[in-house]
């Protein structure tokens, strides 16, 4: 009789190299594009490749995921990636809201775009190769700020190439030049050079999740609450700061804030940084130019 396990053993004999890459970031940073560029570059290097965006109602600023598969052999899978070999984290703040390391294989690689060093207890307790680069810094220095958002995908790819030797930087250069021009190529090379590569074994302890008993309700109606999309202050790349010496209390910022993050108490306006997304509309509408912006660096 035909035994499917025999077939399974046979497949195991022809072991082919396959890499699975998962990308995390926020809408507007170019996560899906990065996934596509890596897949295209791998294909140009002679591999089979595949790029899948996570499907959902994603908005600019909210957490976004994309997947790339690279293989020496034809790829038949069409699923999301649950056990990646490599992780690209385009924004360190995503780590606070999403369990980015979920399913990461031991001996895998992680690229993190962050302006500051990442603590050891952030990483899971497995052997990892980490490529660390200040992607937003590279992006700003190379004038890659699109519509107010620093695009971090090209710097992240530059860092990824340092820990993933199967794709040459020249190959990626060609694709990036054709699609995005010279500035992006410069960003690619400067992040490739600036990336700090090190090996680490993390010390993160697994948190036990407490399951709440669902409340019994007769009619399932939603109740008003702040933060339905989480702490949206993590979406911020630039922080608006009020100079109270110049503020006249005209309330233009208060009424125009799309988020409602500016409160007015006794005529004084105050920004709630927990939820302010950093769109800087307040800065644009201030008639006295009493609001300035600072780059957000708290990771």
């Amino acid at each position: 009789m035909f035994d499917c396990y025999d077939l399974f053993d046979e497949v195991q004999l022809f072991y082919v190299m396959k890499w699975e890459i998962r990308l995390h970031g926020r809408g507007g940073q170019g996560v899906v594009t990065a996934s596509k560029i890596i897949a295209e570059a791998a294909f140009a290097e002679g591999y089979q490749s595949q790029s899948i965006p996570f499907f959902g109602a994603e908005r600019r600023g909210s957490p976004v995921t994309a997947f790339t598969r690279i293989s020496e052999h034809e790829i038949r899978e069409r699923s999301q990636i649950y056990h990646p070999d490599y992780l690209l984290i385009l924004d360190p703040l995503v780590m606070r809201t999403v369990d980015v390391f979920q399913g990461l294989k031991s001996g895998g690689g992680v690229v993190i775009s962050s302006p500051s060093a990442i603590e050891r207890d952030v990483f899971p307790n497995i052997e990892l190769t980490v490529g660390l680069v200040d992607g937003v810094g590279v992006s700003i220095r190379n004038d890659l700020v699109v519509a107010g958002n620093p695009v971090v995908n090209i710097p992240a790819i530059g860092a990824f190439l340092r820990i993933f030797p199967e794709i040459s930087i020249e190959c990626v250069e060609k694709i990036v030049l054709e699609k995005f021009g010279n500035r992006s190529v410069r960003a690619l090379y400067s992040s490739y050079d600036e990336t700090e590569v090190f090996r680490i074994r993390g010390s993160r302890e697994k948190k036990k999740e407490e399951r709440k008993k669902p409340e019994k309700v007769w009619i399932p109606a939603s109740k008003p609450a702040k933060g339905v999309a989480g702490i949206t202050g993590y979406w911020r790349d630039f922080r608006p700061v009020i100079d109270y010496g110049r503020c006249t209390g005209c309330l233009n910022c208060w009424i125009h804030c799309p988020e409602g993050s500016i409160s007015r108490k006794n005529g004084d306006v105050e920004i709630d940084y927990t939820f302010c997304k950093g769109c800087l509309v307040c800065l644009a509408v201030c008639p006295r130019k009493a609001i300035s912006s600072e780059r957000e660096v708290s990771a």
Binding site: R59, P220, P224, D272
Partner: protein, 306 residues
Amino acid sequence: MRISAMPEEEYLLEGNSACHGCGSSMALRTVLKALGKNTVLVVPASCTSVYQGMYPNSAIAVPVVNSAFACSAAIASGLKASLEHKGMEANVVVWAGDGGTYDIGLQALSGAAERNEDIIYICYNNEIYSNTGIQRSSATPFGAWTTTTVHGKREHRKDVAELMVAHGVPYVATASSGHLDDLYRKIRKAKSIEGFRYIEILSPCPPGWKYSMERTVEIARLAVETGMWILYEYENGILKFTGVSKAIADGKKRMKDVEEYLLLQGRFAHLNAEEIQEIRRYVAEKWRKFAGMRGDGHVVAAEFFV
């Protein structure tokens, strides 16, 4: 309208998932401030139905009924009837995008307008289907890039506010996210009128229109200053220009060239001189038409008749 006179209460709570610099959440905040607590919102599928959050939480602090695309005006009519039957007073307000108004929801809207249902219908018009990833709608202007019109849309947009004027409803107004004081005043006025009221708000969309997120207010104001968007209200059969549009119509302010508005947006970046000229022609034609409809007894400045 002084800004400080607007109520401090927030009915659109912070921490929702709207994009940075969202023109529609800016407008919704002001609208809910003007309507007050005693309001029921009917929201069809749209960006708002996503950024309001998921069960068990809601970012909107008034009752919201999420409706199917095609029937928001019909659901609002039913809600109002049942509230009346129970002897309850509340503003029943539809808050729909241009997809839910111009395209899929049009028949229900037209029906409710014809029956003169006692509801307020607000369309926040971002000129695209932004929630599903920037596809063309029938509110998309000529020449604009969307994912389904990659070389620019070849047709001019339709105008549902004008269509509502043609329905002869008690109150029609247009507003913009760049003139929130004007919007606040119009919502307050609509609240005081009985019967079907239609208000359309131009609300710029940073990812869809491809501009830098802090420029939402600037772009919305430029739309009015260049004549691409006309602020007016129609009441008791009389059409009146308001705000900057009134100043332009009275000849007190010069209309800016459309190029100032178009060049700021990535969606118009590919336009050539001919296409820009076509938009100029369209704006002049639109103004001629509205000037002819003007019913407040003023003479229209002659400069649009070029």
